[in-house]
Amino acid sequence: MDPGLNLLLWVLRLAFLALLWVALALMARALLRDVRAASRDPAASLGRLVVVASSGQPAAGAVFGVDAVATLGRDLGSSVVVDDPYASAQHAVLTFRGRAWYVEDLRSTNGTQVNGAPVVGVAALAYGDEIRIGDVRLRLERGRG
């Protein structure tokens, strides 16, 4: 092979390697941007309560971010205000302890249900489970983290 082509081959070889790394660097940049955007997300929270069905307020489709302790009830000071005729003022409390979510019924008049079963004292929750207070059904989902 004549020296010109040899030089060209040498350039192409190294250009191939360089371009592979350029593509990877672009991917790494996209990854980093994504992580940064997620850490800046103001809606970041441990979990989210999605209102599946409701009689009044909050309306179906509403989403609440919840942190380690969240109170549910008709009281306006609750983390998630459940304005339902069958809800007590301090109805239930949702907590994240160590590794799992728990919902505790605060001796409400009409009780709390998880996936249709009444809560006696404290019940463990997994993501995707449904809490029912009066006619309001709330689904626990993972927070955007």
């Binding site: 060209l8 192409l12 191939f16 592979l20 449904e130 993972r142 955007r144």
Partner: protein, 475 residues
Amino acid sequence: MTGLAADVRAPALPGFPRPRPRPRELALLAAVILALGVGSLSLGLARTGRLEPADLPGLALFAGGLLAAHALLVLAGRRVDEILLPAAALLGGIGMLVMERLPQDLVVQEIGPWTLGLGDLQLVWLGVALAVATAIAVALRSDRWLRLYKYTWAASGLVLLALTFIFGSEVNGSRLTLQIGPISGQPSELLKVILVVFFAAYLAENRILLADARVRLVGPITVPPLAYLAPIGAMLALALGIVVVQRDLGAALLFYAVFLGLLFLATGRRTDVVLGLLLFAAGFALLALFFPHVQQRIAVWLDPWADPLGDGYQLIQALHAFARGGLVGTGLGAGLPEIGGRLPIPAVHTDFPLAAIGEELGMTGVAAVLAAYLVIVGRGLRIAAAARDDFRALLAAGLALVVGVQAAIIAGGNLKLIPLTGITLPFVSYGGSSLLANAIVVGMLLALSDRGAAPLAPPRPSRLARLRRSPGGPS
């Protein structure tokens, strides 16, 4: 309680989905295609002495397939990940160049009127894999059928494996290949995906019990309640037993590592991992005591030069290839000298593609391949962290782990870091089953990354209701 979890599906958009541009994916794909084009030019020049791509139609088909997959994802309008496809395409493209570069008569199949060599076959499989990944990414919306039928999935996977054991054909002393009509495949590749689905579904359902209802073992060391560990343990033991008897040690290592990783992700208990590693060490010692082929693998790993022309031959040739490659390699098409008309490394296209890359692209190329796996694993774990519920999170993490651990096992084996076990390098190795299984992994990760339609704003009460509620009237 958790078994009754509500069906989690992506909220359906009203009417036909609106196309959603994916500029990031397009840019990354363009960068990948450009790099592969230059690589193909360098291979062509080294081979023929003329400035032309090595296999222009093949390269064009691959690039066209990638762009078609991109277009389909745009048209589908789902908000799915934009980095996974380019990263997998980078690995697949490098694999395609390597297969084009190797002697084409390593694998020859006649399909109808055509006789296809190694590179052409790999191209066909890459096309099939791309189609499968795109179809899953576009069509997979509900995870209910994966989650509910977990025992059915696991059982079908095991039956497939058992069938291979009974009816399979023997290649290189292991029965790993099942032949149905003209199509032959390695079911253990598919089983890895099925096992991840089962592990994720089982662990998501029993996560709280396994993590918090602990049974005291010795002193402060606690284990999950054994009754709840039994189903998953039995499934793991069955899968491991079959693959170990089949002498597919790489698959056994992969299954166990992925199981431990998922168990840790589900319970968050370090002691479980430590106990699992101790169990692994004990099991490995037992295997080494009773199976001569395990002893042989360890002996080759410790000192391949003890039998340089026999057992150690393959590994020694691979190490020489890495050494010849150096920092930037000899260039595509300029390495891998043939010894007596044969390639130095046996099974280079399935088990040792990394050695071929190491020789012709050097350490820079090997590091690029490993970095691409890192991108895929990192992306998979990101998808897991953003998932809506435990099952989707564990599934995404498990799928990412499968790719990463498999790459680590075979790369470590090729480099004499750990004993060599014959599994494929994901996306790069020649082989339909491997490409197909990894395509399913990418497709499922893409589908799992769907963030759904942008959440609808909660409906506002009507104007009349707002007027009634505020006592002072409109302000």
